[in-house]
Symmetry: D2
Subunit: 401 residues, 4 copies
Amino acid sequence: MKNGTAHLFIPGPTNIPDAVRRAMNVPMQDMRAPDFPELVLPLFRDLKRIFKTETGSVFIFPGSGTGAWEAAISNTLNRGDRVLMSRFGQFSHLWVDMAERLGLEVDCIDVEWGEGVPLDAYRQRLGDDKGSKIKAVFATHNETATGVTSDVAGVRAALDETAHDALLFVDGVSSIGSIDFRMDEWGVDLAITGSQKGLMLPAGLGILAVSAKGLEAHKQSRMERCYFSFEDMQASSKTGFFPYTPPTQLLLGLRASLDLIFAEGLEQIFARHHRLAEGVRRGVHAWGLKLCANEEKWWSDTVSAIVVSEDVDARQVIANGYSRYRTSFGAGLSKVAGRVFRIGHLGDLNEVMCLAALASAEMSLRDAGARIEAGSGVAAAQEWYRAEIGRTLQPRHERAA
Amino acid sequence: MKNGTAHLFIPGPTNIPDAVRRAMNVPMQDMRAPDFPELVLPLFRDLKRIFKTETGSVFIFPGSGTGAWEAAISNTLNRGDRVLMSRFGQFSHLWVDMAERLGLEVDCIDVEWGEGVPLDAYRQRLGDDKGSKIKAVFATHNETATGVTSDVAGVRAALDETAHDALLFVDGVSSIGSIDFRMDEWGVDLAITGSQKGLMLPAGLGILAVSAKGLEAHKQSRMERCYFSFEDMQASSKTGFFPYTPPTQLLLGLRASLDLIFAEGLEQIFARHHRLAEGVRRGVHAWGLKLCANEEKWWSDTVSAIVVSEDVDARQVIANGYSRYRTSFGAGLSKVAGRVFRIGHLGDLNEVMCLAALASAEMSLRDAGARIEAGSGVAAAQEWYRAEIGRTLQPRHERAA
Amino acid sequence: MKNGTAHLFIPGPTNIPDAVRRAMNVPMQDMRAPDFPELVLPLFRDLKRIFKTETGSVFIFPGSGTGAWEAAISNTLNRGDRVLMSRFGQFSHLWVDMAERLGLEVDCIDVEWGEGVPLDAYRQRLGDDKGSKIKAVFATHNETATGVTSDVAGVRAALDETAHDALLFVDGVSSIGSIDFRMDEWGVDLAITGSQKGLMLPAGLGILAVSAKGLEAHKQSRMERCYFSFEDMQASSKTGFFPYTPPTQLLLGLRASLDLIFAEGLEQIFARHHRLAEGVRRGVHAWGLKLCANEEKWWSDTVSAIVVSEDVDARQVIANGYSRYRTSFGAGLSKVAGRVFRIGHLGDLNEVMCLAALASAEMSLRDAGARIEAGSGVAAAQEWYRAEIGRTLQPRHERAA
Amino acid sequence: MKNGTAHLFIPGPTNIPDAVRRAMNVPMQDMRAPDFPELVLPLFRDLKRIFKTETGSVFIFPGSGTGAWEAAISNTLNRGDRVLMSRFGQFSHLWVDMAERLGLEVDCIDVEWGEGVPLDAYRQRLGDDKGSKIKAVFATHNETATGVTSDVAGVRAALDETAHDALLFVDGVSSIGSIDFRMDEWGVDLAITGSQKGLMLPAGLGILAVSAKGLEAHKQSRMERCYFSFEDMQASSKTGFFPYTPPTQLLLGLRASLDLIFAEGLEQIFARHHRLAEGVRRGVHAWGLKLCANEEKWWSDTVSAIVVSEDVDARQVIANGYSRYRTSFGAGLSKVAGRVFRIGHLGDLNEVMCLAALASAEMSLRDAGARIEAGSGVAAAQEWYRAEIGRTLQPRHERAA
């Protein structure tokens, strides 16, 4: 069962483009060489385009998205600070856990898994916070565990409407680069991502963008930190170097990845992710199954969490995919373990790969006892893809007409 | 349309396993070094297992399968020699053409495209050839253009029944390593293959195995030759070197490929190819289409040539696959251009990849106007794969029962 | 000037073996797959052999050696804890800086750059510390900035002689895997290394080994931490998984690297590093120059810091090497900037590479005005290497005689 | 002895640039795809610049330089044709051997090994050939076995002076791309090279350029040929395809290699090869040894064949280099076996690599009993390289002054 391509449909690490893979296959190089900044400085510049920020500053930490979460908190807040968070999946749960462990006083709103950031509740808490005790508001843009995308612009609106000046932290690990994210327009202060999702790299980099307001808050922050400290990193990265040995291999991969992203175009990438995701969703609905994201407005274009019927164990579906069909699906985590399996559809992906995912899922489901019709999900997705691709191929004047 | 994996379903070059790809990614090395034979000699030994020969000798020429065809002819025959050939597809056609251009007198039997080597006709010609004018009999084991596998054992039987001592040449380019081939048992004298099919390497090596009888004939051969000469190659390769600079990269890839082949097991590989091919065929039949191979006995386990309905242009199917769905199918060549498209299913392949091929073909066909049902081929193949894989996973004692 | 190999003689990242490079050139994989522990668990087991510990526990953090420093401190100590450190180069300096920033009360002994850990002073401070206020003693095993190796066994002896039960922290970033290091024998509690030195990988992993006593101390540690917390990592890694997405690519590289290390043999690797280093030192002395390490007992087998004569600017030597001869040397850092340049000689290296380093350094020195004789350093090293290699090639019985 | 870089100083295959290596590390692709010509057609166009021909046609055969030799002969001559050749090393010897085996009547002038094409003798034979019986004149531009470069323009002059219209064949396997070669200016009709020398690729492609006169001769050629036939190749390559499966991997590598070549500039590459070669020669002369090329006019800028003193066995030098110092030198072939070892200095090479070659050769020589001074060759080369690089770095106005 080890023949041929392994079919990777987890929501990260994502499939890496071959050009990126090649770019990382290099001998080691001198990270103190005078021309090293020629590699590094444009990375910072170009990552700003990914975050859609002109005024923010970008930080690249060797680590992971979790490390970038920690960098964001420990550089801008202080122990005992009150923060507003919401929890509706494993990753928003872990972020709350980190905030507590780092000494924040978390005002956490628990929301049903399958929904996202509760805008009304946020607005109310912010409105009630007359003394501005809440120092920061946290939003998980895309909850990877449930396939739920939240409305970050809505969080900004809640802040604005209540004239609250808390910092806005956004976890964009599984959205940035794949789903539209607008740091400046939405007034995000700390935006966090990692290398192994929309940036189509291996894990190993935690990346964050910090607004001018975030950097201002940094000056008041007294948390102990060293590895993840902004000050060391800023001093170095301004000159194109790093305070400690950087993973040069990943920086070269990032260069290749950014080149691919800009060649395709960010908006085109978002459109592609939507098209691919919608095909998967149509497949799921053709099976008669439901998404964990319980309203269309929450549907994520990077990952679909699929609820199996009661008589099926989602763990078995995943096990079948892996052991019988060389396919990796994402598991249902924590509360939804056994009830949900996930299809990641972000990064370097195309229509036929999504059809392969659906075909493999159909077999894995049926092997696990699911009463779904063979080929039904594939057929529904095919029709969507054919129509969409046909539409884009239509001569321009016809479309105009 | 350049995102994600390119789906390669041509009958060679085939998808290369990642381990093979990695093995070829090397700095250059000294092909005259004293330890170079430690790489080379085991390759010759192990290739004999691929050809299933103990008494034959293996030759590796930098070139292609076409080069190995020429090496076989120019080293064992003489200009003006009469040979018996048959023609039922583009590749058997090209082999006849080469034989004529190299100065052989070809007794060519034309057979309908969709059938294979005509055993009865061969038996008759051989029986009629009282003066043993026929010096060699040629058989294309697997006609890549039409997806037809011929009965090489049957050709041997025809020779034996007529007590004819002509040499037996077999083109196994798209069979050896994927479909059972038994050089010694079938009394094949010149067996030809290339690197880019069942051996799962890039193109660049023409490989042939020669029986003791073939080497004996070589002594009588007076054709001019130099690059492809057996004598130079034999003298060198016996010592583990080459008469001219070999493509070391491919030799290292071959090492990795042979290791994978023996780890899986040749018989298991043949079974896998049959299982994968049968899934594709069930898909084709579920569409209501026919194979070019017009009887089950001719069905090839490495490539399926699919006949489209009269109102569809197969060229359009292939063009759709390539431009819309990032999928490469094989074209209908020469006589069957426009009527046939081909799905190659050999090499490093698994079930979900074949389902992807079918899903992509369904869309490409429907876009080209074919009246086939979306998802129908995928569903038929899924059911076959599920049953087959389920069968292999069944506990051993149950199966025994 | 971009032709041919870049000659990398910095003390890390080191030259990567091709087998390691190939092992990292992979598609992404599912880090939650049931067989993922088959990769991970043996890594932990085998790293223990590198640290020479049977009772310790190994942690692998995505990050760098600096991150592992932080993990060691923040998991076993508490803010306000008194620790004994010494400072004699840029890296011991940075470690002191980190300790202070993380809230420790550092009792720092400054030593002349060119010497190592001051055993007598340590013994005295420990002896004086009747109330056991010193919670930990820190030793930089190999100070990369000055090419000084310290006597860790001596630090242990100082602790034992004074019957002090402080934890022993050792920075082995540029020693472990290249210079003998014996965690259990020396009673080291926190041993730190990174991927990009003796492990011959790109930067990206901070690795540490923790003694049972260190884990005991962990239970009393109340520093805030999350990313680098032992508890999360231990819970996961016991099962062969990670608490957040690991850099799988580097784990695969580590597998390949460990395989190479054990194939060569740790003791053989130490001997090779000594042989190579001694050749470089003989070259330096043939030039009439001195090492920064001011006594033979401090000489490092992984990096030589070379003091240029007063009329030469070491920065110019390094600039010449880089811009004229495609060679990277290490810079003199901080106090010794301009006075010192460094030749890193650790990792995947051989004699002729060291001769290339010396040849390039000779040109770079002479271009910078140094009055050294062309070829003199190369000649001295050649004679040493010839003799050493000749000795190892001598028939065993001759050597015995 | 397997640590670190293997030092490859054979005259091909040469060290491959990392960018080329990366470019070849690819999944397989569809060599019948409609956009495949976008890769292929520019290769033909750009190779013409390498040959310095505007009117010639380029052919790329999967094979080797030897294959291209055969293609050149079998496509433009006829059995029994008289040709003028000269023999002064192993490769010119092998070419004569091929010509004879392919049925040509060879008028061969034997020249002392260490000299090159005998212009006077050529002029005389051509002048004497009143009936124009000589159909072709052959010249080995660079005899790889002896490190001798011949004067191709001189051969053209001999033809012109005698008003002889024989075709001019040139073996440029180890010169083209590294030493100036001017196909059109010198009136070369058949120019032959391979991939593994100046083109810095693995072996696997035989490349030749054919003048209009050569193509005219082709029409009269009646030699049997198929694999290497111009007609099939021309028909295909005009459209950007190949008559049989091409080694796509190498074509992608060729693209990368040509890009590097044009980025550096052909004339700059020739100058670099001269500079590097001259350093090696100065090293050899500093040792008190002589080149096989017995006059300066014959000295090759791509390979130096070095004559050892009588009491030394050159085979031992090579064995020492390989087994003790991880270095590959070229052997003395045939007549000069044991008397000569070779340092290849072509392709992707820089000064410090050449110094490494000399340093390794010094040790290998001394280990073999040669009475040369350690470091002497390195020192001589260093001084040359320093001066040459210094010269190129000198401000433009100083140089002008």
